[in-house]
């Protein structure tokens, strides 16, 4: 089963290779991996999309935790989470196709971020299903280039009953 694992790591030299080496050395799967600094510049946040049965995921989480440069590991599948991915898609557009492309962009609330007489470059964000869907629709026009960021995700804040929340606000 697919799992999204959020990993907070030290922002230093060689950390990415330690994480990547762990996955390749132990034969774990990486579907996508994204990494960027956090608000605190001494840390980076990784989002790793991986898959495996329960035992493998347990090992992945434990092995990640064991890495000395890893500060925190959260298996987001254990809670509710929201995830997004961005794709940038360059499509060929002949005269007749340009309107069709724009229509698709509109439906998916995507943006055209660059255009030439024969191409549009489209940016779209969403969950993986949405990205797949727009790719499928654009494919007949001819996709020239496609890059995807891989997914990033955060856990949803637990929703507290209104009364409790109000109390907390009052105290603060």
């Amino acid at each position: 089963m697919e799992h999204i694992i959020s990993v907070t790591v030290e922002n230093k030299f060689g950390v990415l290779s330690r994480v990547a080496g762990l996955f390749s050395g132990r034969g774990f799967n990486i579907e996508s991996l994204s990494v960027a600094p956090t608000l605190d510049p001494s840390m980076s946040q990784m989002t790793i999309v991986t898959s495996g049965d329960e035992r493998i995921i347990e090992q992945i989480v434990k092995q990640l935790n064991k890495l000395i440069d890893v500060i925190k590991v959260v298996d987001l599948n254990e809670t509710e989470f929201v995830s997004r991915e961005t794709a940038i898609i360059k499509v060929h557009t002949k005269d007749v196709d340009r309107a069709e492309a724009l229509r698709i962009v509109d439906i998916f609330r995507a943006n055209v971020i660059d255009s030439t007489p024969t191409t549009y470059t489209i940016e779209v964000s969403g969950d993986p299903k949405k990205i797949e869907a727009i790719i499928n629709l654009l494919q007949p026009l001819g996709i020239k280039e496609l890059v995807r960021t891989g997914r990033v995700a955060v856990a949803r804040e637990p929703v507290r009953p209104a009364a409790v929340q109000a109390k907390k606000v009052a105290r603060e």
């Binding site: 330690r18 035992r55 434990k62 890495l67 000395i68 890893v70």
Partner: protein, 591 residues
């Protein structure tokens, strides 16, 4: 006052209590060697190969429980030490290895003798550091020792570029270390420990399965108390030997692929496996799907990744063996009563039955070729009062040493289990001898393995490390030959060593003492002579070449289905049978 990087390096080692450094010089570490040369607090043992330096550091660490330290140069120095680092990583040995690196300005330029030391060592170290600024050196070394020796121990590499060892900085050594991503759990979860105590009280057929973790954490006393109080039999892994006294009536000896019959049967038929500092290696579990089919499993381990890696665990306890056992014992002390023994009597009756049915056996004819087991047994009997440290190489001789050399105490057993590194034994023995100059250190070696680090005899002679090497000389890669006999229809592909050097002359050539056991009747006398010598000694013991090591669970086999002796067709072959030519035997016996 400012110190050079090299001086800081030495000051740091002193603060860490390092007395001995196993090392081999080269261009980028010359500044460090030059500075070492001008001080007296740290002894430098010059090895002949960096692999030797690494294994010596391991032997030192295993015998003392402290970090072993080695120093190598860049490029080939680094690649040579990799095997030892990988070995230390698999067996959780605290080693701090310092490597030289080309000057920071040249890193990445394919400079002379440059290697990506961090990349090379990443998969076989617990952690590694590249020091780019001399101002970071002291804090880095402090962290290196801290990481190597705490939690699940392991090797740590510190890569020091040449310019860093030459540059100057103020020296301050930090008092403590805090790494936010590294906080080993020492205390076990109290509720889980209570669950474990309850399971132990209820169990009818419990078994203690103890490993290297008990040795690392110094929990032997606590283990002894637990076992005696609850009357639970103790199985030891290869790495756990010595954690529990081998001659104790509760000891079942080693379990696993070449473990004793009773150890494996007790494990297989138990209803509660209490694993302490052991990692359910495949040489122990055999076929995982049929491992301990009737048992609940308690697993105490400081490394969460060891738990449920291979085997389902019912009561996991993450923590240090010693701390957890103390707490467990405290609970049990309050509850255990005489009834426990009665409750378990049927279990013990069963175990004694297994013990009597298939004890370890071999047959030594009076005038026949020397049997390897006989050598180990006599060596054990002749030395046990001297509380020796025993190192082994890898192969059949290692397994016979594990079976017949009954260790009474921990930190006396130096063997390569996880990586199974031939050539480990001799340098490891030297490392232990360097730590304990007055103790008796033995190395039970194979004729194949010893040749993998024979060059270190020069080091032993030079540094006066009077290790006693006993070579069980069967003319073969015996362990390989055994598998070929059992699983490859006796085709000895590259297992016959063909020729072996005259080990007696070889010892003498190095300035050490060489002795040979020509017949079984001479065994005791020659061993005694060796033990009375104050120099390094090689005792060459030509042994029966076709002896096989039993019991044996074939790889992936089931723990209660052991091969206990040579199958009939093999026996026939050995008693003058077809494939083994007489010339074969002769060369082997006179090798």
């Amino acid at each position: 006052m400012k110190l050079t990087g090299a001086e800081i390096f030495i000051e740091c080692l002193k603060r860490e209590g390092v007395k001995t450094l196993f090392a081999l010089p080269g261009g980028v570490v010359l500044k460090i060697f030059d500075t070492l040369h001008q001080q007296k607090d740290i002894e430098v043992i010059l090895t002949r190969h960096e692999q030797g330096a690494g294994h010596m550091a391991e032997g030192y660490a295993k015998a003392t429980g402290k970090a072993g330290v080695c120093l190598v140069t860049s490029g080939p120095g680094m690649t040579n030490v990799i095997t030892a680092l990988a070995d230390a990583y698999m067996d959780s040995v605290p080693v701090v290895c310092f490597s030289g690196q080309v000057p920071t300005s040249l890193i990445g330029n394919d400079a002379f003798q440059e290697a990506d030391n961090i990349g090379l060592s990443r998969p076989c170290t617990k952690y590694n550091f590249l020091v780019k600024d001399v101002n970071d050196l002291a804090a880095t070394i402090k962290e290196a020792f801290y990481i190597a020796t705490t939690g699940r121990p392991g090797p740590v590499l510190v890569d020091i570029p040449k310019d860093v060892s030459m540059a100057k900085a103020d020296f301050t050594y930090p008092n403590s270390v805090s790494i936010r991503g590294y906080n080993p759990t020492v205390e076990g979860n109290k509720w889980q420990i209570k669950q474990a105590a309850e399971a132990i009280m209820k169990a009818k057929k419990p078994i203690l399965y103890v490993g290297g973790g008990v040795v690392f954490s110094g929990a032997s006393q606590e283990l002894l108390e637990l076992a005696e109080m609850t009357q639970i039999p103790v199985d030891m892994t290869l790495m756990g030997l010595g954690a529990f006294p081998g001659e104790h009536p509760l000891s079942m000896g080693m379990l696993g692929m070449h473990g004793t019959y009773q150890a494996n049967m007790a494990m297989h038929y138990s209803d509660l496996v209490i694993a302490i500092g052991a990692r359910f290696d495949d040489r122990v579990t055999g076929k995982v799907s049929e491992f301990c089919p009737h048992a609940k499993v308690i697993h105490v381990d400081i490394d969460p990744t060891s738990i449920r890696k291979n085997i389902h665990v019912d009561i996991p306890i993450v923590g240090d063996c010693r701390t957890v056992l103390r707490e467990l014992n405290q609970i049990l002390r309050a509850t255990v009563n005489g009834e426990q023994k009665d409750l378990r009597k049927p279990w013990w009756d069963q175990i004694r039955e297994w013990q009597q049915a298939h004890p370890l056996t071999y047959h030594q004819e009076k005038d026949g070729p020397v049997k390897p087991q006989q050598v180990v047994k006599r060596l054990y009997e002749l030395t046990k009062d001297r509380d020796p440290i025993v190192a082994t190489d890898v192969g059949q001789h290692q397994m016979w040493a594990a079976q017949y050399f009954k260790l009474a105490k921990p930190n006396r057993w130096l063997t390569s289990g996880g990586l199974g590194t031939m050539g480990f034994g001799f340098p490891a023995a030297m490392g232990a001898q360097a730590a304990f100059r007055d103790r008796l250190v033995l190395c039970i070696a194979g004729d194949g393995s010893i040749q993998m680090n024979m060059q270190e005899m020069a080091t032993a002679v030079l540094s006066k490390l009077p290790v006693k090497i006993i070579i069980l000389n069967n003319g073969f890669h015996g362990m390989v030959r055994q598998w070929q006999d059992l699983f490859y229809e006796g085709r000895y592909a590259s297992s016959n060593l063909g020729t072996t050097p005259d080990f007696v002359k070889l010892a003498e050539a190095y300035g050490a003492v060489g002795l040979r056991v020509k017949k079984v009747g001479d065994l005791d006398a020659v061993l005694k002579e060796a033990l009375a010598t104050d120099k390094p000694v090689i005792v060459d013991v030509p042994t029966y070449p076709y002896e096989n090591c039993y019991p044996m669970i074939p790889a992936g086999g089931c723990n209660h289905e052991m091969i206990l002796e040579d199958p009939p067709e093999l026996k026939m072959k050995q008693s003058g049978g077809a494939k083994v030519t007489p010339e074969d035997k002769d060369t082997v016996l006179t090798a």
